[in-house]
Structure formats: structure tokens, C-alpha cells
């Protein structure tokens, strides 16, 4: 289990997307998200993108108003996770065209779908943008 969870949070601290790869109760999630968001949002641009929290490492990156936070276990390669976040943003960019917070809010399902294509069981399984988007395009066509 490399990736434990993926969060997208705006700079007001509101969660816009939450995907967990291990089961946590709602209360645990609420507490965890609160703590992490407080920790990460307080940091500035000159500081590094890694924060240790409980037994997780949080790798995060900010794009405009949105923070992408990925909780990983200790074995995971932080730089690879940063690349993964970037890949995720690029993929969404390609799909939505200049992706912004609103796109993710109103098309949360699609964002989840992309994530499902990219990550399975906490492992990164797909890293090609066109492969990730192919099934979504297929679905769009059929519906």
C-alpha cells in the first residue's frame, strides 16, 4: 500500500476531493483531514513539499487555489509522488481544458474515475494520459 489517500483541498481548507485506499471511519477521516490541512496550508512556497504526519508522509503541491495532498507510507518515493500529482493535474487539464477548482467540484465523478485508472490498491498503475482518459472518453460517448 504505497498511497494511502489523495485529497484535493482549496486554500480555504475545504475538501474538494477525497479518495482513501484504506478504510477509515468518517470520524477518523474528518480528524485526519483537519490536521493535515492545517499543517500543510500553513506552509509557504519556499518550504519543501513533504510533511510527516502520524505514520504518514504527506506529499503535497499547490496548483492555483487548489492543494493536492497525497498521503503515502514511508517506503514511497516522494519525488515520484510529486510527479504523480503533476501527471494527475496534466491529465485533468487535458480533459477539462485549463482545469480549475470548479471543474473538479462539478465533475467529481470524472476526477474519481481518472484516479481509479491511475491508482489501484494504493499502487500507481497507469501513467499514460491517453490510457487514463480512454475509458472516460468511451463512457462520455456512450452516455
Amino acid at each position: 500500500m504505497g498511497i494511502r489517500f489523495i485529497l484535493m483541498v482549496n486554500k480555504q481548507g475545504q475538501t474538494r476531493l477525497a479518495q482513501y485506499y484504506e478504510y477509515l471511519t468518517l470520524e477518523e477521516r474528518r480528524a485526519l483531514e483537519g490536521e493535515i490541512v492545517r499543517k500543510c496550508l500553513a506552509r509557504n512556497e519556499q518550504q519543501c513539499s513533504f510533511v510527516e504526519h502520524r505514520n504518514y508522509k504527506i506529499v503535497y503541491r499547490r496548483y492555483a487555489s487548489l492543494f493536492f495532498l497525497v498521503g503515502v507510507d514511508n517506503e514511497e518515493n516522494e519525488l515520484a509522488i510529486l510527479e504523480f500529482i503533476h501527471l494527475l493535474v496534466e491529465t485533468m487539464d487535458r480533459h477539462f481544458g485549463n482545469v480549475c477548482e470548479l471543474d473538479i467540484m462539478f465533475h467529481l465523478e470524472k476526477a474519481h474515475f481518472m484516479l481509479e485508472e491511475m491508482v489501484m490498491n494504493g499502487c500507481i498503475v497507469e501513467t499514460s494520459k491517453s490510457n487514463i482518459l480512454a475509458p472516460i472518453q468511451l463512457m462520455d460517448k456512450s452516455s
Binding site: 513533504f50 515520484a80 490498491n121 498503475v125
Partner: protein, 960 residues
């Protein structure tokens, strides 16, 4: 009903409406959501799948982002899963992955639905089911659906196959028997040519190998091929992670992969890959100097980079490499130290950690100086991090790295004066602890304590209270080292002490009491001398001698053993010199007691303590009353005595001095840490017939020994030496003689009944520095652990060098019991640190049954997989052929004959033979490792010291 559902559909709010509404109702959000939840509860019961799915979609949204419970809707989720429309099915599956857990009761209902979707012709449906399964699979689901997953593992569609590979991880975890069925196909996918699938398969193996690396050693050739051939960084990172684990288990494998890893490190521009290579080298390939050198170069590049991310990771890599190759850290010392003032607290912490790793006996003074300067400049949080790490580093293993305790004690004093310091508790603990353990330092300790007490400004800082409490205690307990008890008394009773919390005030009062008693006692002794001087009119030489003798008794009544001489001589000289100068010195008041000064002191106490006897706090009140009663008891006599001088002297001696002497004796008994061997010093009472009662216990419970070995006495500090006489030589006698007597008695007893004794090795060297010994005995006991640490070459215990400790010159009074406990505590933690060891020792919760069922079944599965590879791709590992041949010769031919694949060998006359050999090798390895594993477990159980066999196992090279 139809009508209502139509109405619902028409007027139902969609998810989009909900989101818009949420955006509008930022203030009354929760009311808005409650309303929405009400609607959802109604809508979700609808028979119209569209209404239902929209309701579920909204519910999932609220649950995932606003933490609303949706477990009540589980049945609706199941209903909707069977919808024929993909859009509905998708919503249901998503809701299921979001909200189902192991205990969701309706899980048993979805098996058939999942099966149906898994064998669907629509690959999107199959993918949905697989995705969902990877999140929610339970033991039952995994077991029931294994056949379908097995089929999908060789699906023609890459899109489906890669997901099937991905789901295997969860299935194995839940239902280990699935390994029997699916492992072969999983390996095939690893060997396949499709990069997408290989990527997933490598990911799965990476996760599996992290949990239990040993089982995957036989697959090393496959991983090696990928390591050399793949140019996909994602895949390479995963493979490197696998090798980081495997190389620790098999040195020859490490030898093999070192070169390709270095190649990657040189070749690639991708920072993530470089970092993974570095990490692999510093964790698993530390024996390969060239690789470490190369890694050091890349680490340095990262450190120099402006990107804080790279800097942070480089620092982390440094702390990994530090235990084995300190030179890498030393090379970058400047950058590390500079990073202490970095903008990023994480980087600062990391560099602090690193700096503390470089600490040793020789540089602790210098490093602490630098760190303290940083602490002064830092923000409160980091300041305390620095202080905390200095404190914890210095007190490790009973102040192992401290040579100069005078320095350390004054450092403690300095620390507590740092404005942000919040480590009062720890400083308190250490001040008192050092006071009890290290006799030589008491003079300095009292000086430091005095400086703290005397500063009224410090009383305003509540974080300092604990430190002040320790200072007060120290100056009370070791008042004989004080240069000026009057000053001390003033400090202890200064008005601002009302700021202190009652408990600490109580400590202050008690210390004041001790100072008072000490002063009176010394005063009387001094008077005695003076009287004698006057009476005898003796010459100065004699006077000096007797004075110094008496002062020794008076001023150093608690000094018990060897260090007594130095101190008392020094101290005595000072005093007698002072005395020689007679009255001039008296007026200065330094440690001489004039009648006037004593009366002043008594008056001061009455003045300051008086009001406290009405204090609300019982502790303060009681102690204040104690002091007052004592003063009342002696005051009149003292006044008389002062008035009448010589005449009343005799009476004084009989009454006042009796009381004072009594009190003084009461306070003189030494408080100290309790030694583990303290029990042996207790003489056996007459008439106690231990042996007769306990003799046959040995036969009744022979296995008691182990718990006994580990149980140490943690008694609270109590008087170690029973007799508190103020005459030092008498005390020495008291200390040594009975103990010798009893030890000889005990030694005999021990011989016969060793079973009932605490470990005795330390007894002979009770004043030597024992951690070295303790560590060794610890190690003996934990031999497997040590052995494994060596095996994995991951000893993350850089500071524990027993030899180091033994040569330390400072005489430290130690409590062996404590030390053992410290060592014992440290040991398991260090074991935890070496990840590989943990894996092997504890197994892992998920794979327990997995690994049990694996060896036989899986090896057969794997064997087949291997054969297939050899048939399919004979050219794939050609680059290995040369090495293969070399090793081929080493393999006994009898093994070849055992092999079943003769036909195939013949078919590949040129290369196939060799490749088959490779396959066979891995099987052999498999069997060997399985065997070894078993042995290892048995060893643990039996607690056999050191298994040499396991260190030099005969394992065929897996890469050949």
C-alpha cells in the same frame, strides 16, 4: 406510485443543484445539508432507478466531502448495482467502494453481481467490478471470485488484464489460498511484453516483497531483467524498491545489481529515479564503496540545489547513510549546519537530527555550543526541539557521551535561561539525576543551582519552575558544597517565591530547612574549634590541621568514597585558609559562621516563613511549621549561648547541639539511585532459613529463570547507605565492611541457589562503568536479533559502542539496574528500525497464512511459470549468459539430474540448457530459502545463541 416517482424525477435536485446550493449557503450550510439529506432519504427509496441513482450520487458526495454517514443506504447501493444501465451501475459501485467495509452486512449479497460483472463482455463493467473489488474485497469475496480473477489474468484486453493484476494484491491479502491459483499467471504478466501490465505487476510484487521479501528471491532474475532493460522510470523505481529488500537478504544479488543501479544513477536525469537509486544504495548496498561514493556525489548535488524538496530528501538520505559512512555527512557538514537556519522547519528538524547523529564524546561540547547559539536565535518550537535533542542525546545510556560533567551541568543551567526554553521537566530530572549519580560534579552543580536560585527574574517564567525546583533541591541536599549558605538562604526565601506553585514552594522550604540545619551544625563545630583554640592557645599549624580535619567532618559529611579526598582537601584548604585570616574573613561571611550571621539567618527565616504556616497548601504549611517549631526549639538556647558565650558552652553542647546534630544526621543520609545489586548488601537476618524453604522450588518451576533475569529493581530512590553518621571514615566502614561480610555469605548462597538471584556479573565492577557489560549481556540474550542486524547490514545503532563507554575516565556512580532497563528499552526500538529485521521477525499480519501456505504450492506454480518463460523467450536474458555459464559449473550435476525438464533442455541445445539451469537454480533457491526460513523461526523459539549456518548459507546465485 408511478406518478410520485415521475414527480420526483421532474423536481428532484441533481448533484449539480446540490453543489450550487452548497456554494450559495455558505452560512446556513448544515441546515441546507440536513434538508438535502431528508430529500435523499425519500428519493433513494424510489423505484425509479434514475431518481435512486441521483439520490445515491448526492449522498456519496455529501459523505465523501462532508462526512455524512451513508452506511444506512448500503442496501440501496446493492440494488442499484444490478441496474442494467452503466451510468447507474457506476454510481452504485462508486458508492460501494466509498462506504462499504468488512462489516457491512449486505456484502454477502453482492458476490453474484460482482461475478456477473466480472464475466461481462463490456470491459467497462468488468473494470468497475475489479476496481470495486480492489477496495472492498473481503475474505469471502476473494475466495468466491478467485476463479473469475484467474480467468481475467490472461484476458486478451490489456485494459482488463492490468486491473486484474492490480486486484490480485488485495485478493492475496484476504485469501492467501488464491496464491495457489493465481500466482503463476501473475508471474506470466510480469514476464509479458506489455509495459502497462508489467508496470502493474511490478507494483504488486513491490508491495508483496515489502512485506515478506524472502519469498520473492527466486524471482530475482525477472526483476533483474526489468532493471536492466526497462526505461520506464515508474517501473524502475518499483524494481529498485524490490532490490533494496532482496539485496539485504542475498549478498551475491547485491553484488549483481550494484552495477546497473550505478548506471541508472549516472545516466538518468529524472530526480525521482536518482533519488530511488541513492536510497537503494544507502540502505542496502552500503558495502559497495564505489556506489556509495557515487551516491554521495548525487546527494551533494541535491543538497546544493535550490529546490527545498531535494534538499530535504538529501538530508534524509544522509541520515540513512550516516551509520555506515559518516564521511559522507562530514563532507557535507557545512551545508547541514547551515540548514539549521533554513526557512523550512522540516529541513531544520532533519538537519538537527543529522547533527545529533554526528555527536560523539569528543565533539559534544563544540556541537552543543553551536546548537545553543541556534536555539537562542530560533523560534520557540525549534528552540525546544534543539534543547530536547541535546538533552536526550546527552542523557542516553546514563550520560554515556558526557566526559566533563562540570561543563554539562553549567550547560543545563544555561539552557534553562534561554527565554523559549520549555524543557524544565527534563532539565529538572537530569539535574537531580546527575547530582545523585556523579559525586564529582556536586560542587559545580550547587554553583549552577545557586545562580539559578539567586536570580529573581527567573521566578517570573513558569516554564522554569521545574528547573528551579531541582535547583532548590540540589542546593538543599548538597548544601555542604555551597560557598555561602546565607546567600543561599536568602535566595530560597526571597519574596518573589510567592510566584511559585505550592509544591515547588514546599521544596524551597525544605531546602531552606536543610540549609539552616547545616549552618547551625557547622557553626557549632566551628565554635567548638574556636573554643579549643582559645583554651589551648595552640600554634597555627596545629590549629590549621585540626580545623581542616574538623571542617572535613563538618563540611563533607556525605562524601562517601574515593572521591572524598580530592574534594575535601580542596574544600578544607579553602576553609582553613579562611579561618586563618580570622575575623576579617568572618565579616565577609563566606562560609564562616559568626554569631551575628546565624542570628540574622534565624530572624530572616522567622520573618519569611512565619506567614506561610497559615498557607492554604498543606505541603507548604506543614513544612513552614516544621521550620518554625525547630527554630522555637533552639532559638532561646542559641540566644543564651550567644549572650553567655563560654559559660554556656557545655550546656549548649548537651542540648542544642544534640538537637542540631540529630537533625543534621537526619538530613545527611545520602539519597541515591538504587543499584540492582543493592539486595546483596542487605545482610541476611539471623534465623531466616531461605534455602530450606526454597530449595525444591527449582524442580517445581525450572523455567522461572527467564523472567527473573529480566526483572530489575526499580525502587524509588532511598537511602542506599543505611547509616547516616557524619564521620566519613565511620561511614566508609559502615558501607564496606558489612557488605563484604554479607557478600561472602551471599556468594556461597548464590553458588547453591543461583536461580533466585538477580544477575551478578556487575557486582565485581560496581564502580566501573557497566553499560558495556550490560550491553553485551543484552546482546547475548538477543543474539538472533543482533545476528540479523549484522546479516542485513543495517545497524542503525551508531552510538552504541561498548568499548567507547568503558574507557571513559569520569567516575560515575551508577545504578546498574537503570542502565539495564535503558539498554533493554533501546534494543527493541533499534530492531524496529531495521525494517528487514522486523519483517522477518514479526512476519506480517496479512501474509502470515500466506507464507505458510506458500512454500510448497507456490513453488510449483512458479516452477511452471519459469518453464514457460524459458520456452517463450530464450533470448531475453542473453546478457546474463556469460555469468550463467560460470556459475553453471559450480552447480553439482546431481542436481541437474533431479530436474524433470530433460526434454526441454534438449530442445534448447545452445541457450536453453543454460536458461533451464537458471530456472532450476531459482527453484533450488526457493527450497533453500524456505528451509532457511523455517530454521530461523525455530532458532528464535529455541533461543539458540548464534546460528552460524544461517550466516553462510549455500544459496545458488539467483541471477544465473
Amino acid at each position: 406510485m408511478a406518478g410520485s416517482s415521475l414527480m420526483d424525477t421532474l423536481f428532484q435536485r441533481t448533484l449539480e443543484d446540490l453543489i450550487k446550493g452548497l456554494r450559495l449557503h455558505l452560512i446556513g450550510e448544515s441546515a441546507f445539508i440536513s434538508k438535502a439529506m431528508e430529500d435523499i432519504r425519500k428519493e433513494i427509496k424510489s423505484t425509479d432507478p434514475h431518481t435512486k441513482s441521483t439520490a445515491l450520487q448526492k449522498l456519496s458526495y455529501l459523505s465523501s466531502l462532508y462526512f455524512y454517514d451513508m452506511s444506512w443506504a448500503a442496501f440501496h447501493v446493492v440494488e442499484l448495482m444490478s441496474s442494467t444501465r452503466f451510468a447507474h451501475k457506476r454510481i452504485a459501485y462508486q458508492a460501494a467502494s466509498l462506504s462499504f467495509d468488512e462489516n457491512t452486512p449486505v456484502l454477502v449479497l453482492i458476490t453474484n453481481q460482482l461475478r456477473k460483472d466480472l464475466i461481462s463482455t463490456n470491459e467497462l463493467e468488468v473494470s468497475l467490478a475489479l476496481e470495486c473489488l480492489s477496495r472492498i474485497a473481503t475474505v469471502d469475496l476473494a475466495r468466491d471470485l478467485t476463479p473469475e480473477i484467474f480467468t481475467l489474468l490472461s484476458s486478451g484486453k490489456v485494459f482488463v488484464r492490468k486491473k486484474a493484476v492490480g486486484v490480485v494484491l488485495r485478493v492475496f491479502e484476504k485469501y492467501p489460498d488464491a496464491v495457489k491459483v493465481c500466482f503463476k499467471r501473475l508471474v506470466e504478466n510480469l514476464e509479458g511484453s506489455d509495459q502497462q501490465v508489467v508496470s502493474v505487476a511490478v507494483g504488486v510484487f513491490c508491495e508483496l516483497a515489502l512485506k515478506n521479501p524472502r519469498s520473492y528471491l527466486p524471482l530475482a532474475p525477472e526483476f533483474y531483467r526489468i532493471l536492466v532493460e526497462s526505461r520506464n522510470n515508474w517501473i524502475l523505481i518499483k524494481v529498485l524498491k524490490i532490490f533494496a529488500k532482496l539485496a539485504l537478504l542475498e549478498p551475491r544479488l547485491a553484488n549483481k545489481v550494484v552495477e546497473p543501479i550505478c548506471d541508472h544513477m549516472k545516466r538518468t536525469d529524472a530526480k525521482s529515479l536518482v533519488f530511488e537509486c541513492i536510497r537503494t544504495v544507502v540502505t542496502s548496498l552500503t558495502d559497495y564503496e564505489s556506489a556509495v561514493k557515487l551516491a554521495a556525489v548525487r546527494i551533494r548535488e541535491m543538497l546544493m540545489d535550490d529546490d527545498p524538496n531535494l534538499k530535504y530528501l538529501a538530508l534524509q538520505a544522509l541520515s540513512t547513510v550516516a551509520p555506515n559512512h559518516v564521511w559522507v555527512v562530514v563532507e557535507n557538514k557545512e551545508i547541514v549546519i547551515k540548514s539549521l537556519s533554513d526557512e523550512d522547519p522540516n529541513i531544520k528538524l532533519e538537519s538537527l537530527r543529522l547533527v545529533m547523529m554526528m555527536v560523539s564524546q569528543s565533539n559534544i561540547v563544540e556541537i552543543s555550543r553551536v546548537l545553543l547559539n541556534y536555539a537562542l536565535k530560533s523560534d520557540p518550537f525549534f528552540c525546544n526541539e534543539i534543547l530536547g535533542s541535546i538533552l536526550s542525546t546527552c542523557c542516553r545510556n546514563v550520560y554515556e557521551i558526557i566526559v566533563d560533567f562540570d561543563w554539562y551541568v553549567s550547560l543545563l543551567g544555561e539552557m534553562s535561561r534561554i527565554p523559549h526554553c520549555q524543557k524544565g521537566d527534563e532539565i529538572e530530572k537530569q539535574l537531580i539525576d546527575i547530582g545523585m549519580r556523579v559525586e564529582d560534579v556536586r560542587l559545580e552543580l550547587v554553583r549552577v543551582a545557586r545562580d539559578l536560585l539567586i536570580d529573581p527574574a527567573l521566578l517570573g517564567n513558569s516554564f522554569l519552575y521545574r528547573t528551579l525546583s531541582a535547583a532548590a533541591w540540589v542546593s538543599g541536599a548538597y548544601v555542604e558544597f555551597s560557598k555561602n549558605p546565607f546567600e543561599l538562604m536568602e535566595a530560597l526565601l526571597q519574596p518573589r517565591t510567592y510566584l511559585l506553585p505550592p509544591l515547588i514552594r514546599a521544596v524551597y522550604l525544605q531546602s531552606a530547612f536543610k540549609v539552616l540545619v547545616y549552618s547551625l551544625h557547622s557553626y557549632l563545630l566551628q565554635r567548638g574549634i574556636t573554643e579549643r583554640d582559645f583554651a589551648e592557645g595552640s600554634d597555627y599549624a596545629q590549629h590549621d590541621a585540626s580545623a581542616s580535619l574538623n571542617q572535613e567532618e563538618g563540611f563533607n559529611p556525605r562524601v562517601l568514597n574515593q572521591s572524598f579526598d580530592d574534594l575535601s582537601v580542596e574544600h578544607g584548604e579553602e576553609i582553613s585558609a579562611g579561618h586563618g585570616q580570622a575575623s576579617a574573613f568572618d565579616s565577609l561571611g563566606t562560609n564562616s559562621f559568626s554569631d551575628e550571621s546565624i542570628m540574622n539567618m534565624i530572624n530572616l527565616i522567622e520573618l519569611a516563613v512565619g506567614p506561610l504556616s497559615g498557607s492554604l497548601d498543606v505541603e507548604v504549611q506543614e513544612r513552614a511549621r516544621n521550620i518554625r517549631s525547630f527554630i522555637e526549639l533552639i532559638k532561646q538556647e542559641m540566644v543564651d549561648c550567644l549572650a553567655q558565650k563560654e559559660e554556656s558552652l557545655d550546656r549548649n553542647k548537651t542540648e542544642v547541639s544534640k538537637i542540631i546534630k540529630l537533625m543534621h544526621d537526619a538530613f545527611s543520609s545520602e539519597l541515591g539511585p538504587v543499584s540492582v545489586t543493592a539486595q546483596e548488601r542487605v545482610p541476611i537476618p539471623d534465623g531466616l532459613l531461605l534455602k530450606e524453604n526454597l530449595e525444591d522450588l527449582e524442580t517445581i518451576c525450572p523455567d522461572v529463570q527467564l523472567p527473573l533475569l529480566n526483572s530489575f529493581s526499580f525502587g524509588s530512590p532511598q537511602s542506599e547507605e543505611t547509616n547516616g553518621d557524619s564521620l566519613p571514615d565511620l561511614q566508609n566502614k559502615v558501607e564496606s565492611e558489612p557488605s563484604k561480610e554479607s557478600t561472602s555469605l551471599l556468594a556461597q548462597h548464590r553458588k547453591r541457589h543461583g536461580l533466585y538471584y538477580l544477575p551478578s556479573e556487575k557486582k565485581e565492577i560496581s564502580n566501573d562503568y557497566p553499560p558495556a557489560n550490560d550491553l553485551k549481556s543484552e546482546n547475548d540474550r538477543n543474539n538472533d536479533a543482533e545476528n540479523l542486524v549484522k546479516l542485513t547490514e543495517q545497524s542503525l545503532v551508531p552510538k552504541k559502542k561498548p568499548s567507547n563507554a568503558k574507557t571513559r575516565p569520569v567516575v560515575v556512580k551508577l545504578d546498574e539496574g537503570d542502565q539495564v532497563s535503558i539498554a533493554a528499552k533501546a534494543q527493541p526500538k533499534d530492531d524496529l528500525l531495521s525494517g528487514a529485521v522486523r519483517e522477518v521477525l514479526l512476519g506480517n499480519d496479512t501474509n502470515d497464512s500466506l507464507s505458510q501456505s506458500k512454500p510448497s504450492d507456490r513453488s510449483s506454480a512458479r516452477r511452471k511459470g519459469k518453464e514457460k518463460l524459458n520456452l517463450d523467450s530464450p533470448s531475453e536474458s542473453k546478457e546474463n549468459l556469460d555469468d550463467v555459464k560460470k556459475h553453471d559449473d559450480e552447480i553439482p550435476s546431481s542436481r541437474k539430474n533431479k530436474h524433470r525438464k530433460h526434454g526441454k533442455e534438449r530442445r534448447h541445445k545452445t541457450s536453453g540448457n543454460v536458461l533451464d539451469e537458471g530456472g532450476e537454480n531459482s527453484q533450488k533457491g526457493k527450497e533453500k530459502t524456505g528451509h532457511r526460513h523455517g530454521k530461523h523461526k525455530a532458532r528464535q523459539r529455541a533461543d539458540v545463541p548464534l546460528n552460524v549456518v544461517s550466516q553462510t548459507p549455500v544459496i545458488p546465485d539467483f541471477l544465473l
